[in-house]
Amino acid sequence: MEPALVSPASAVLAGIPARLIFILIPLVGIGAFAWIMSRRIAPLLRAAPDNRFQRIPERIQAVLKIWLAQWRQPRYLLAGVLHIVVFFGFLILGARSTQLVVLGVVDGFTLPGFGGSFGAIYHVLKDYAGTAVFVSVVILAVRRAAFAPARYAVPEAYGKGHTPEALLVLGLIATLLVSEALFDATLMAAQLTRGQPAEVAPPLTLVWVIRHLLTGVAVGPLQGLHLAAYTVHDLTFFFFLCFLPLGKHFHVITSLFNVFFMRLDRGNVKPVRHGVPDSRLDELKSFGVKTFEDFTWKHMLDFYSCADCGRCSDRCPANRVKRPLSPRFISIKARDYAFARYPLHGAAAESKPLIGGIYSEDEIWSCTTCGACEEECPVAIEYIDKMVDLRRGMVDEGMVPQSLQKPLSAIEKRGNPWGKLEKKRADWVAGAGDGCVVKRLEKGEAAETLYFVDSITSYDDRMQKIAQATARILCAAGVDFGILGPEEKDSGHEVRRFGEEMLFQSLKDHNTEAIQAAGVKRIVTADPHAYNALKKDYAGLPPVAHISEVVAEAVQRGRLTLTPGENGSKTYVYHDPCYLGRHNALYDLPRRVIDAIPGLRRTEMAGDCRDRSFCCGGGGLMLFYEPEEEQRMGVVRVQMAQAAGADVIVTACPFCLVNIEDAIKVAGLEGRMEAVDLCELIDRHIQR
């Protein structure tokens, strides 16, 4: 039987076989795409190394979860669900689009494996997928144009808005969907008109609607529409392909790779240069990221993969309090610079220092390394390592604000950022109480457990109470423990994260030696920053536990019994410290410990707790940095606690306590809101 319409591969246009055009379009499209991609890959080949080809099973798992299952998308529900529809639509329709391209050259082509009953099912599936995507695209376009969330806004300092690009891409997707449906629908309509057995359009799909609209149209116009639909699809397909690597839709191509190569560990910091051990750092000519090519190839891939969704900045505490930092623009600015530096044609932009070029010093110092951005990013872009690398570059060039130079110099000389005397590091012990013996390991006493106190808890008048409470808890739980006293130096957690790697290395070496000399079997700390440093930044130490782990275990084994408190009428809320929660996944234990106090009422800051906890303002050296900001992060946090109906904020980090106690005063909530450390809370409720 003669086909109802002449196929694209058989058509003749103005005496020329259309097949020639349909060979030419893919050839030109693929050629242009290959050229563009080669330009995009060029900087990656000149980038700093990073071995991301290990731990393949974990990487595949990450791809299945974060990329294929779109795990992080529903955290922003509407945008997330719409994205999932479009994402799966693309996966399904990719096969159909590929088939269509070949159909212009080979009549009746089907992709291998797409014949038979699978092909029939697929044909129905792709029609519904296409329709779902079409509906989503319409919703997305209306939302973009009329109801865009605030997080899409582009501040003036960062250039023009990205809405035109977004709408153009939505238009391209809609064009692909409609032209594909029209191609099928014209053939069905022609079959009906000619009285041939027609393929059935799945009800309520785009192709079904168009087929109905075409009822009664003559074969001539249908033939024209059929070929026009095919040509439009072919042209749009290759235009879209080449357009992707030009902007934020590059993520359509790169996200799979970006997730595969994602950072698998939490809380750690990348080495100064991958492949160079700590002992050979002195051989490096330059430290950190100063120009674009100092970034690792993975960090460049991050820039390409940013979809501009704004979730990182929406959750970024620095951005929230109007510090000059928006993680989204760390990516976008670097991506735009990469495009200018490696242009598709014309002269390349000159290499220039990134600081002062696309980033400002204050922008990079504004980050507290809380990790909220990385937790949120749907395509697993990393920021903390970039901040640290940029800071390493600034430190190497001497670009360190005076407010940070003083504490750094004090740490170098005295082992603590206040420059207090080493011999006073253990002065807090005097306040631990008579019944509690704190052994002095630096004086040759032996103990099973080392309590690593760290600087702020050792020296700050207020935070010494945490040290004393911790000591009393350890005593009550029957733990055989001691401290290093003057032999302990700052853990260097923030020293490293503020880019002073060599100072960190010397602190690490000193503490490692002192801890190893003490001969302990484990380390306990009540400071999540010290906890994270000893666990992730140090090597060769005994196991490290946070005090909440010790308490939870002691309560469970009956070594500690907690009694009801006198504050029965108060409502408590737990604030997750970044370095306990997000960076170490200790969310439940501290809560379990609080809940072990009989009769204590606890609430949650719903939507801002656990892995969405809001940073208190940052620890360590961040206490000394004087940022430009409209508000303190701590104040925002205290207001969140107030909104949750809490009277007492329980935290488990001395820096959180400093920031939150200050914030309570700044917010004018003194007397109505209080902050307490987990150790203090437990200490008050121990049955002795």
Partner: protein
């Protein structure tokens, strides 16, 4: 422009608790940590910035025992090309004039267009800069918070005067300037920077190398002799609050309220 910056190694007042020895001969030095005098650090940064603008080189000189090398190296890590260590037991116990004589001798050994000192030292008496200028018979401007290099070896220098106003003066090189803090933002020097210059040779000059007579400097040549260090007794009307920070704060608030300072 060839610039010599005089720097001093001092106990860092922010990171030490200064206590006087019982016999009044000195402060207790066992637990002290030292750093470069803050004013001098600004002077070195300014010298580096001038050289960045108009060319030349920066030399950093320090008088002291061999420990002074650490501050010279630190300033070299900032970007000073050369260091000079002026060390001789004969320099010990110098008064301000003695120190100035040693520095002036070091200036004469080189070919400098400009000598910078800090306006004062943490543990000093703010006298050396002027005396160096006098001994060299060079023009001198003190408390400088701005330097512009002009044609013909002229400098336009600024000084803050009462009420936050600025005074500008012209001064012909060679000259001596004492530098006020805040003239710039001194760059950071980390351990890595210091290690990079760890093996650079720093010439050591003794009294004889500088053509100085040992009797003219040091304790022998001092015309101002230190007599005593002591903690002054609390005077009438002075009260030192004791206790924890919270207690002190509470007492202070009470006192201020009682005396009508706050309501």
């Amino acid at each position: 422009m060839e610039i010599l910056v005089c720097v001093k190694r001092v106990p860092d007042s922010a990171e030490n608790e200064i206590e006087v020895k019982a016999d009044g001969s000195d402060i207790k030095r066992e637990d002290l940590v030292y750093s470069v005098n803050e004013w001098d650090n600004y002077a070195v940064e300014e010298a580096i910035q001038i050289v960045d603008r108009v060319g030349g080189s920066v030399t950093v000189a320090s008088i002291g025992n061999p420990d002074a090398e650490e501050v010279v190296r630190r300033e070299m890590a900032m970007g000073a090309a050369n260091g000079l260590l002026l060390t001789d037991p004969a320099f010990e116990g110098s008064d301000g004039r003695g120190i100035a004589a040693v520095l002036a001798a070091a200036v004469r050994k080189g070919k400098y267009d400009l000598v910078l000192t800090g306006a004062q030292a943490d543990d000093g008496a703010a006298q050396v800069g002027g005396m160096v200028a006098a001994l060299l018979d060079w023009p001198y401007a003190s408390l400088v918070n701005k330097i512009e290099v002009q044609d013909g070896g002229m400098l336009r220098v600024g000084r803050e005067i009462e009420g936050g106003n600025q005074e500008l003066s012209d001064i012909q090189t060679p000259c001596v300037l004492s530098i006020q803090t805040g003239i710039n933002e001194p760059r950071y020097v980390g351990i890595r920077g210091i290690r990079k210059v760890a093996s650079v040779e720093i010439p050591v000059l003794k009294a004889a190398d500088l053509g100085l007579n040992a009797a003219d400097v040091g304790r022998a040549g001092a015309r101002v002799k230190r007599a005593d260090y002591f903690v002054p007794p609390a005077g009438a009307g002075a009260e030192i609050l004791q206790g924890s920070t919270d207690e002190i704060t509470a007492k202070l608030v009470d006192l201020l309220k009682a005396k009508g300072g706050i309501k």
